[in-house]
């Protein structure tokens, strides 16, 4: 395979080398967080973490463990850079992104260090493409200070049922309200369609209720009734991750911050995680 004919000497200049037989195992999960142009890459011996942020209110992280890669070599404790995610995804799909079985793009991602571009070697059907993407100084990702000790309510659901709810949510509504409670209604999404038709003024509202004993509910641990509102525009990007996932965990902490964690299986059945943090619109105590 052409990619493996890289000489050993070349390899030593890279602080990070990551190879995948199927580039889709990286591109699919990156698409789930690609709501902004720029992404912060952070690599450690454990694997790769890619972060995308929006106006300090929303943060998405994709975790791809070292085990997912066919080769993952890192010469420093931590390697970080920022790169244009849109361009990176275009390069990963440079061969057209065919989904025919047996046809996949192989990837070798190499980085020499601060100031150097990110080099991608992509191969499909004997054709090799080399892409060099300029990197930038990585910004410090916002620390949402979301720690598990502060979590008040936690629910783990099979994604199937949530996918349907999200696809039907009235996206013209500005705000989504989520209630989690140890008593009825347990887990509720409220969408207020306030702007539907001006002749009718407030044309009503809609809510979706998930009972705690539903067979879709894998875990239900709610200590306190909490209702929080989140901007729909912030939650919308997470629907891409939801679409890819098979399970989702929804957690809120005492401040009303929302953590959505998605379990994604890639083409080879391996597990990766995507996480969204979102800050609340305003506190509504019920």
């Amino acid at each position: 395979m052409p990619l493996s004919t890289q000489s050993q000497a070349d390899d030593e200049q890279y602080v990070l080398v990551a190879s995948l037989d199927n580039a889709r195992n990286l591109s699919n999960i990156l698409k789930a967080i690609a709501f902004k142009d720029h992404a912060i890459f952070s690599a450690t011996p454990n694997g790769l973490k890619v972060t995308v942020e929006d106006s300090k209110c929303l943060q998405a992280n994709a975790f791809i463990q070292a085990e997912i890669f066919q080769e993952f070599t890192i010469r420093e404790d931590s390697v970080g850079f920022q790169v244009n995610l849109t361009v990176l995804l275009d390069c990963l799909n440079i061969f057209g992104g065919s989904t025919a079985p047996g046809v996949s793009t192989a990837l070798r991602m190499c980085y020499k260090g601060y100031g150097y571009p990110l080099t991608l070697f992509l191969e499909e059907g004997g054709v090799v493409t080399v892409c060099k993407i300029n990197t930038q100084e990585p910004e410090e990702p916002v620390d949402f200070e979301f720690c598990s000790t502060n979590v008040t309510n936690k629910v783990i659901l099979q994604s199937e049922s949530l996918k349907e709810a999200f696809s039907e949510l009235d996206m013209t509504s500005e705000v989504l309200q989520i209630t989690m409670s140890p008593s009825q209604p347990y887990f509720r999404f409220v969408v207020k369609n306030l702007k539907l038709l001006s002749t009718f003024g407030n044309s009503g509202n809609a809510h979706y209720d998930y009972p705690k004993d539903s067979d879709m509910m894998e875990l239900f641990r709610c200590d306190k009734t909490q209702t929080n509102r989140y901007k729909m525009s912030l939650l919308k990007p997470s629907t891409k991750a939801l679409a890819l996932s098979c399970k989702v965990s929804v957690r809120t902490d005492s401040r009303g911050f929302l953590s959505l964690q998605y379990l994604v299986r890639n083409d080879d059945g391996q597990i990766c995680f995507v996480e969204y943090f979102c800050c609340p619109d305003e506190e509504v105590e019920e």
Binding site: E168, Y208, P211
Partner: protein, 400 residues
């Protein structure tokens, strides 16, 4: 009011609502003793549709006792409840419709698999009763066919086409697009289909008439009928009298009533005659084949009937109450096919009709509607009713 729809009927209800949305922006809901009536009308009052679901359609059907309840809801809100038909089929087990009169909410609750409950609280407004004035059983021409026949016919016309003309003889039905006299003849494309009587399940012609109506509003019914497989019955009379298309089964009845063009004054007749003259020259005679074994004269006769002076401009075969609605020659309401309005320079400016006002429709489409049926406690009606006896002659929305 408390109704429950279960299983496959939820999808039927959803489809009916989607097809009503092709007519107007508001859904009129009226739970009656003989079933739940869902109605819609377009802004120019030239198209009306009503679905009546018998109590047996529901697994529970309870209506408000003591007083009649009527309301109207923004149809988009109701469509949002039943947004994805595929999902409805797969996941919805039942749909519960409840009235909360204090909050002016009609609540639709979808009970789905895995315990998920989707609740939609929709605001409504009180409304007058919406009823169209028509008597389809008295119409001269009656047809019935599988929806496939009409769908296959309509597919030949572009989606943007506003009006079609349907002409019948004893053995045939012609469907062609209606082209305005002023339209640029060199750019006009004329499409005509001929259907033989044996393509229909029932074909009864008493009058060789030709009616022109708006096709767009009908497409909603065609989609509904095709997906439910119910045969469509078509009723029409003279030009000016509405055309009615119905679907029926043991638990529901849907009626789509469309106004038709009436041929009134000479000016128009002359224009149309000129058009026909032109057509005579430019169109070659139809080739003789199996179902067109009539000679060219019959073909021309068919064209002529569309320009024959129809009944007078005032509404025909409708009760006097309708006079207050459609006989006023001077005013013109906005009509969706503005082509007609434009051609009559002597008419007044068109105005948009509000949902509640009953302006007389454009004198072209002079038929239809509406005796606003006044209940003792009615509000907001602007149409004068001359006598109750007249309205009692309506026969509509019969459930078998």
């Amino acid at each position: 009011m408390d109704c429950v729809v279960t299983g496959g009927n939820v999808k039927v209800l959803a489809k009916a609502i989607h097809s009503l949305s092709r007519i107007g922006d508001e859904l009129y809901v009226e739970p009656q003793e003989d079933g739940l009536a869902l109605r819609s009308v377009n802004s120019s009052r030239s198209a009306y549709a009503c679905f009546l679901f018998a109590p047996l359609f529901f697994s529970r059907y309870t209506i408000p006792s003591g007083h009649t309840f009527r309301c109207k809801i923004a149809i988009k809100s109701v469509q949002a409840v039943f947004r994805s038909l595929a999902t409805l089929e797969k996941t919805v087990e039942k749909c519960h419709i409840e009235l909360d009169e204090q909050k002016n909410h009609l609540t639709f609750t979808l009970h789905c698999k895995h315990g998920l409950m989707k609740t939609h609280n929709l605001s409504f407004q009180d409304s007058e009763s919406l009823q169209a004035v028509f008597d389809k059983d008295s119409y001269a021409n009656v047809f019935r066919s599988h929806p496939r026949l009409l769908v296959d016919t309509v597919v030949h016309f572009p989606p943007s086409l506003e009006e079609v003309t349907v002409s019948v003889s004893d053995e045939r039905m012609w469907v062609r697009n209606h082209v305005e006299e002023e339209a640029d003849q060199s750019k006009a494309m004329l499409t005509e289909l001929c259907l033989a009587s044996d393509e229909f399940d029932h074909f009864a012609v008493q009058a060789h008439n030709s009616v022109t109506f708006c096709l767009k509003e009908l497409r909603g019914l065609l989609v509904f009928a095709e997906s439910t497989g119910l045969p469509i019955s078509m009723y029409f009379d003279e030009p000016g009298s509405p055309i009615v298309l119905s679907v029926t089964d043991s638990v529901l009845e849907g009626n789509f009533v469309l106004a038709t063009l009436s041929d009134d004054h000479n000016h128009r007749k002359n224009n149309t005659k000129r058009l026909v003259d032109k057509l005579k020259c430019t169109l070659p005679p139809p080739p003789p084949d199996d179902f067109m074994n009539d000679d060219i004269d019959a073909y021309l006769i068919a064209m002529d009937t569309s320009i024959a002076p129809g009944p007078s401009a005032t509404c025909l075969s409708t009760p006097p109450v309708a006079d207050s609605i459609c006989s006023k020659q001077s005013a013109a309401a906005n009509h969706r096919t503005r082509l007609h309005s434009e051609e009559e320079e002597e008419e007044e400016e068109e105005e948009y009709e509000t949902a509640d006002s009953g302006r007389p429709p454009n004198k072209k489409f002079c038929s239809l509607f509406f005796g606003s049926v006044l209940s003792p406690s009615s509000q907001m009606t602007t149409q004068p009713v001359t006598s109750q006896e007249v309205l009692a002659s309506d026969s509509e929305d019969d459930v078998q």
